[in-house]
Structure formats: structure tokens, C-alpha cells
């Protein structure tokens, strides 16, 4: 049975974590000098690179300009060597387009777009290595990149993918767990106000379990937000030391 393998009797998962434990998060801001904002984030074995350009004038179709706020344009793509099976096209397939739309929706909720009317903000995320939780890692990396670009946001956007196995919610799924037939839920949260920016689940789950799962996801996201906050403060310290000298 899939449930037995994914969560042992002692409460350990496939990679030795407990049910509510997140993978190790390591991040760095300001990775590329040419972009307006950039960040690299690793969550376990999933690695993502996010780059932000903007706010700048609308490129391409001027007709899509909004008179009262900025347009957020996202692109999600995966490196061809990121998955175990080589991926032939980095982006342009349905999955990537869907992810790009989700990212756009997530960041429209957080970025203060009213401050930049008639302009465009580009967020490009690239997955270098994929080991589950792709959407969450992208959102976390993109948050850091937007902060690095100096674009004001209402709050950090933290995301986490949770699954439900054996009456227990598992936080931060890896690829083996995601493909093991677990009902997974992806949640993007603005931690301070507890506002949900994006909620997505496409598996069967009993209604009674939904609330527990969302609670677990929100706790996991708050954990991620602490790590991201630490990274941003560390980066600012480093940068201000250099500026002072």
C-alpha cells in the first residue's frame, strides 16, 4: 500500500523527516548583477532561480497596458536536465503555461501594483533541479527576487505543498511522495495577515480532512516565511556593510 511506504509506523517519511518537517531551505539574493532583482533558492533537492525585470515600460502589445496599475508577467520554465527523464522543451507546454498563470495570480495579490500604473513587471523563474514542490519553490524564490528588485509588496509570499497520508498531513512533499499517489495541496500564503493568495488541489480528499490540511499548509508556510525573513535581513546586512565602507 502506498500509505505504508510514505509514512512509517514510527512517523518517519521516505527521506527521514517527520510529518510536519520542512526540507532544508538555503537561499541567496542578488545572484545576477544585470537583472533588476534575482534570487536562488534550494529546498531540499529542488533548486530554482528567479529573476525580476522591472518595473519598466510595457513591451510588446501596448493595448494590454492598465491605466491604474502595473501588469505582472510571469514565465515558468524548467531546465531540460532538471528532471530524471530529460525534458525536451523547457517551456511552452501546457504545464508550464499553467504554472506561469498561477505565479501571475499569486504575485498580483502581493505586489503593490497601484504604485506603478502603465508599466510591466517581469518575473522569470527557472527550475534547475526538480524534486517535488516545484510551484512552492518558485514562489519562494520569486518573493526574494521581487524584494531584491526593490518592488514593494504587501507581505512575503510563502508557499508550500502538503499531502495527506494515513490521516496525517505531510508538509513539503518531495517528488517520490508527490508521484506516490498522495492527495497534494499547494498553498501560497501572505503570513502576517494569514491571507491565502493561491490554493490548488487536484486530487480526491474527504471534506472533513480539508481544514486540517489547510491548517498544516499554513503552519508550514509560516515556517518558510521565517527562513525567508532571515535571508533578507542577512542580505541587507551584507549589502549595508559594503555600502558603509
Amino acid at each position: 500500500m502506498a500509505g505504508l511506504e510514505l509514512l512509517s509506523d514510527q512517523g518517519y517519511r521516505l527521506d527521514g523527516r517527520k510529518a510536519t518537517e520542512l526540507r532544508k531551505v538555503q537561499a541567496r539574493m542578488g545572484v545576477f548583477a544585470q537583472a533588476d532583482g534575482s534570487a536562488y533558492l534550494e529546498q531540499g533537492n529542488t533548486k530554482a532561480l528567479a529573476v525580476v525585470y522591472g518595473p519598466h515600460e510595457m513591451r510588446g502589445s501596448r493595448s494590454r497596458t492598465l491605466h491604474d496599475r502595473a501588469v505582472i508577467n510571469c514565465q515558468y520554465s524548467m531546465a531540460t536536465f532538471s528532471t530524471a527523464e530529460r525534458k525536451r522543451r523547457p517551456h511552452g507546454d501546457r504545464k508550464s503555461t499553467e504554472m506561469s498563470l498561477h505565479l501571475k495570480q499569486t504575485f498580483e495579490a502581493a505586489v503593490m501594483t497601484q504604485l506603478y500604473p502603465r508599466s510591466q513587471i517581469d518575473i522569470y523563474v527557472k527550475i534547475l533541479q526538480s524534486d517535488g514542490g516545484n510551484y512552492s519553490v518558485c514562489v519562494n524564490a520569486a518573493t526574494l527576487a521581487v524584494i531584491d528588485a526593490g518592488i514593494p509588496m504587501r507581505d512575503y509570499v510563502c508557499a508550500c505543498t502538503v499531502g495527506f497520508v494515513d490521516e496525517t498531513p505531510l508538509a513539503d512533499l518531495c517528488y517520490a511522495e508527490e508521484s506516490g499517489g498522495v492527495s497534494s495541496l499547494a498553498l501560497a500564503l501572505l503570513p502576517r495577515g494569514g491571507q491565502i493568495a493561491l490554493l490548488q488541489m487536484d486530487a480526491r480528499l474527504h471534506q472533513d480532512h480539508l481544514e486540517t490540511l489547510i491548517e498544516a499548509a499554513m503552519t508550514a508556510c509560516k515556517g518558510v516565511s521565517k527562513v525567508l525573513d532571515e535571508v533578507v535581513r542577512q542580505h541587507l546586512q551584507e549589502v549595508s556593510v559594503l555600502a558603509r565602507d
Partner: protein
Amino acid sequence: MATVQVSEAEKVYILHGIRDDLRVDGRGCEDYRHMEIETDMVSNTDGSAKVTLGHTAVLVGIKAEIRKPKPMVPNEGYLEFFVDCSANATPEFEGRGGEELGTELSNTLYKVFNNKHSMDLKSLCISAGEHCWVLYVDVLLLQCDGNLYDAMSIAIKAALFNTKIPRVHISADDEGGKEIELSDDPYDCMRLNVENVPCIVTLCKVGHRHVVDATLQEKACSVASLIISVTHKGTVTCMRKVGGGSLDPESIFEMTEAGKRVGKALHAPLMKLLQQEESLGKTRRKVGFLG
């Protein structure tokens, strides 16, 4: 390539500087920018390398798969190249914007690397006519500040050096067919001989002189460029002129000589560095983008 606007006054400044062998960042005409190379960064691949040359950043991942060999050469494996100009480098590459440049770059890479003089393709053969190793070399362009060919070729050479192909045992099947078994031991692998793999040197003609490793500003002032791939012995394996301007035959000879000199000098330090990195073994601290 990502373009940068350069004013007339800036062009004159750059031209005069190069005429006196002093470029904008203080380099001589044949000096490279600060280069950083790191291998084995992506664990999903069989070999990978990241090269940062000034502000240009390139990541190469190599995956080895077993396929049928090409009918013309049944006892050789082959390489497949794919260059992904990602939107990270510049917003112009979003969607299908980077495809044109990517195709041009990968076609050049095919000519330079996928031949028996650069790589021992016979070592990639498993059983003649039936199975061979195909190396899928995927190049990811992360940041673009000129001199893509050089950075890509160094990254490809480093990634090929780092590639570990699992050993294969062929046994006879029940029905008389061949069965392929991959070795279970992760350390039992075959390494590639990258002695003859060439490095590409791009020379840009600016004014009356040529420069190696041009930045985007210098490229904007140049008339045309010459791409030369040079092996460690100094042999030129491929040469191409790119760019809209025209070059004098004498300039081409001069640039070829300079390219050979610079290219030959690249190989020895590169191999030394790669072997040094390899010898650190488990004690090596992987930095990647976190450093």
C-alpha cells in the same frame, strides 16, 4: 544577443583605448575576464558545469542515454546539443524570443564538438549497430554579457570531464537477443577523454585591432568577429566569421594566429584546475549559486 546601446562618444572612447591596448576595464587586448568554473552542480545529470566569465553565466548539464547508433557510423556514439537562451538573461528571450539565437549556437556547437577529432566517439559505442551512448548536452544561458561561445565551450569541456557514464554489461537474453545491464555501483563508471576537446575563442575586430573576450559594449563597436575552435595542441578545428561587416584577408590571418595562441594557452590551466577540483573528492564544498 542581448543588445546594449552605445553612444558615439563611448564608441570613440572604446576604439581609442583598444588602439592603445587598454580596454575599458583595464585589460589588454588578449586578456580574459575573471573566470569561475565549478562542476557537478546538478545531481540529476551525469555531468554538469557552471562557468561565469565576467557577467556571462552559463550552466551545462549532460545526460547519457542508450539509443540506436546512426546508420552511417554504426560503431560510434554521438552528442546532441541544445542551447536554451532563458528569459533570465534578458526579457527579449521570453517565450520563443530566444529560439533563433539558441538554434544558431547549437548548430555551431555541433560543428565544433560532434566529430571524431574532438571526441573519441568510438568509446561511446556499446554494441555496434544496436546500442550506443548518446550524450545530451544541454546548455542553459543565464546571463549574457558577451562572449557566449567561449563560456559555452569551456563549460562543455568541464562538464564532459565531469561526466560519469555507468558501465554496461551485455548478456545474452533467453530468446537470443542482447540484454543490457547497467552497473549498480555508482562508482563503477566510465570517464571521457577530453584531451582533444577544443575550446572556442572569439575575436572581435574593433578598429584596426582585435580583442579577445569582448563585452557587449565592445561588441557594439566591432565590425565583425571570428570564431575559432582550437585544441590543446594548437590545431584549429573549426573557423567561422560572424557579424555584418567585412574583413580583410590579412586581418583574418592575424586573428587566426592570435586565436591559436590564446586558445592553446587556455587548455593547460583549465585541465589543471579540473583535475585539482576532482582530486578534492568528498572534501570539496559545493558552492553553486550560494557562494
